[in-house]
């Protein structure tokens, strides 16, 4: 009996045993940290575009790329918080457009100093998000529906506020996109600060862990004493504040408060999250993946332009990448579940072998 058990244990352990061939190690690394695959994809596509058109990696092009990335990535970071709790924020694109106009309007028409304008816009974004959060947690409205309201409402509000573009003249305002520090646009520095801050909150604070827990199983989180409503509310505030920041960047980029170019950005933000490995069911996803997902979309978009691919192919390429990311993610989950079952079998065989001594004799 004891010999069969030990054989069983060996067999079961072999099934989960870690093989150490380089290929197996690489595969394990990819399974554990799917974000690496996306980073590799970003670098590879960048290299391909550069090899076709060497201008693509010129300093000016890189700065452009960086500014485009900062907008998408910051929106995607805010969006990822909502998706991690199992929700969604459809309003970020329209809010970005609205806040671009509001920022210009405050600074130009109301003569509010630039930095105070920035602060007010970001606070407005957070307050708008607070509204989302309260409607979701107090009235139990689905996040999709609440933010769909904003998607529609804010898209009209910006034009009502400023039927014509408001030209921004303040040099400080324009420097967000126009100026660089050691060759890096200020917008990119803003992105870096926000990305590191978001990573810190999610992975290095108890609040971040609680946000994951809410997305993983809201009822279990509630019964574990986690203030679920507050956590859900705060992620929509974060997302709203991010839309405020991106609104400022957009106004600075276009040198005026106008919003036409921002349409569809909420979908790009969501796509960045999904490509970056954030599960739409909630509970999973990391900052590096989100930023890399946004980077992949920006490189593809700008790169296809740089190599003169017709614009309507761009959407098709982005769509194909999204599909690919979804399929890879599912394959990964299925693999994880299988290995989970194997691990359980080892544990069960082992537990079964801990028979009380009198049974063995």
């Amino acid at each position: 009996m004891s010999t069969t058990t030990s054989v069983q244990i060996q067999e079961a352990e072999q099934a989960v045993a870690v093989s150490n061939t380089p290929l197996a190690r690489l595969r394990r690394l990819l399974v554990d940290t799917p974000e690496i695959g996306i980073v590799v994809a970003v670098i590879a596509s960048f290299a391909i575009f550069t090899s076709i058109n060497s201008d693509f990696s010129s300093g000016a092009e890189l700065q452009n790329l960086g500014v485009d990335l900062s907008g998408f990535a910051i929106l995607a970071i805010g969006e990822s918080f909502c998706i991690i709790t199992g929700g969604i924020d459809l309003g970020v694109g329209s809010l970005t457009a609205l806040f671009a106009v509001v920022a210009a309007w405050m600074n130009v028409s109301l003569h509010i100093p630039v930095f105070l304008t920035f602060l007010l816009v970001i606070v407005c974004g957070a307050l708008w998000g607070l509204g989302h959060g309260l409607l979701i947690t107090r009235l139990g409205v689905a996040p999709f529906v609440v933010t769909l309201f904003t998607f529609i409402f804010a898209a009209g509000a910006d034009e009502a506020l400023a039927p014509n573009p408001i030209p921004v003249t303040s040099s400080v305002f324009l420097s967000i996109v126009g100026s660089t520090v050691a060759g890096v646009p200020i917008a990119v520095i803003v992105l870096l600060v926000i990305a590191i801050g978001a990573w810190f909150v999610l992975e290095r604070t108890y609040i971040g862990r609680q946000i994951y827990a809410v997305g993983g199983n809201a009822e279990a989180a509630r019964l574990a004493g986690i203030p679920v409503r507050r956590r859900i509310t705060v992620v929509y505030m974060i997302s709203g504040a991010c839309a405020g920041v991106v609104g400022i960047i957009v106004a600075s980029h276009l040198t005026s408060g106008t919003a036409d170019s921002v349409s569809g950005w909420e979908l790009i933000a969501i796509a960045s999250c999904v490509i970056g490995g954030v599960s739409l069911i909630g509970g999973q996803g990391r900052m590096i993946g989100v930023v890399a997902g946004a980077a992949l979309l920006v490189v593809l978009r700008d790169g296809l332009v740089a190599v003169n691919v017709n614009t309507y192919y761009q959407s098709m390429v982005v769509g194909a990448v999204l599909l690919f990311a979804i399929v890879v993610d599912r394959l990964r989950v299925i693999r994880l579940e299988r290995s989970g079952k194997r691990v359980r079998r080892v544990a069960e065989v082992k537990a079964a072998s801990h028979v009380p001594p009198e049974d063995v004799n």
Binding site: V16, E203, R204, T205, Y206, I207, G208, R209, Q210, Y212, A213, G216, N217, E219, A220, A221, R222, L223, A224, G225, I226, P227, G283, Q284, L336, E337, S339, G340, K341, V343, R344, V346, A347, E348, K350, A351
Partner: protein, 511 residues
Amino acid sequence: MLSDQSQPVAAGAGGDLVLTGVRKTYGPVTVLDVPRLVFRGGEVVALVGENGAGKSTMMGIIAGAVQPDAGTVRVAGHELDGAGTHAAQELGITMVSQEFPLVGQLSVAENLLLGQKPGTRRFLVDWRAMDAAAQTMLARVGLEVPLRRRVDSLAVAQRQLIEIAKALGREPRVLILDEPTSALGPTESERVLQIARSHAASGGVVIFVGHRLNEVRDVADRIVVLRNGRLVADLAPEVATEERIVREMVGHELANAEQLDRPEAEAPLVMRAQALEAEGLGPINLTVKAGEVVGVAGLMGSGRSRLLHVLMGSIPSSGGTMNLAGKTYRPRDTADAVNAGVALIPEDRKVQGLLVDSSLRWNGTLVVLRRIARRGLVLTPRADRSKSREIIASARVVCQTPEQPARSLSGGNQQRLIFGRWMAARPHLLLLDEPTRGVDVGAKAEIYRLIDEQRRDGMGILAASSELEELLSICHRIVVMRNGMITAEFDRSEFSKEAIIAAAAVDRVPA
């Protein structure tokens, strides 16, 4: 009807339902073994037994939902070939139970006629014919509700009657009522009993699975008692006193008289609830001492879980006072409860307890995150890892690594992980809801050991369970709940299975 009963009836004659040699095992456990049982047309047969006695399995087999390992089920001579519930329905077997719920968003009439199409129109819904048919069905159960009302806007009792009306609408030969009155008040219950009687009077077979013994005696022409999967008694109502039924249900095993050292007499109270009320609960007076294990017994729907959830702040209380370890305790939510030192290990591990896709580490440290965080905010990987190892070790979770997902653990190990999670929080009061549901025998013993360790540490423990044996073996005291109230209390020296079952199942109101 009594003369009917005394007549020997040939197997398979008339509308009888006959079980022959029906057996069902799950692994090594035989859950049902019935050589022969006849339900005659024109009879209401009550089926009683403790949890796990085999009632649900028998009902499942008759209704075609469970495939027996051996034996046959015949209705009026036709054999049920075991090919699912459809085959059973073809034979005229209909079960009213929670497993075939109404569709909440549809109207009363639509629910009643779901899958049927009265009237003569080919493609369109013939509303007039539908209403007429639905009205007739409602009249049979004596219920008056607007046909266009959405079902989810109705009271539980009305919905239960609609379920029965729907079942009767299929004109069944065999009508199975699975605890049809558990959610009903006295008036509606009486109506259900009448429906059962009149269906039998019209020649049908009625099987009434019941917990309330006075109802069972009231309605049944025969009372069949199951214990451990076997048929132990087939009683006529004249001889079936409540004492007799309980005795047959329990058997002659004695309550576990094993010694359990008592908490000290002057041990402080960790919980004192006075006149505590909430929706469907109370008023309740309850105390739990430090180092004491108090059991909560009661039937399904008696308010066991509800009581625990009110103490946890997960369901709001509407009146009364609570005092936790000497301080006034008024939780607004579960976060308040955790901060005050209350812990709940819920009934359904996967739905209410675990983050199944997250690691053991994340699951383990979930309630102590703030305590291990630096300055109450920053969570360092080192603190997180070492705490999770400590938790896994203290609860003796068998695993490969703290990083494996919780779904990869067996049920018993998952439960231990949740124990470890809460032990790390060192609460004053630990609430356990079905602490060993769905874990195997070995893991059960291990969980009892964990409970014992916590008790010795001075934690107060309140454990709700549907397994009476479990409560008898681990508790110092057992309170019995019925209809949201505590109806009896037993000290360990007075433990008696019969008395507890009687307190849970028998209405004290004299006839």
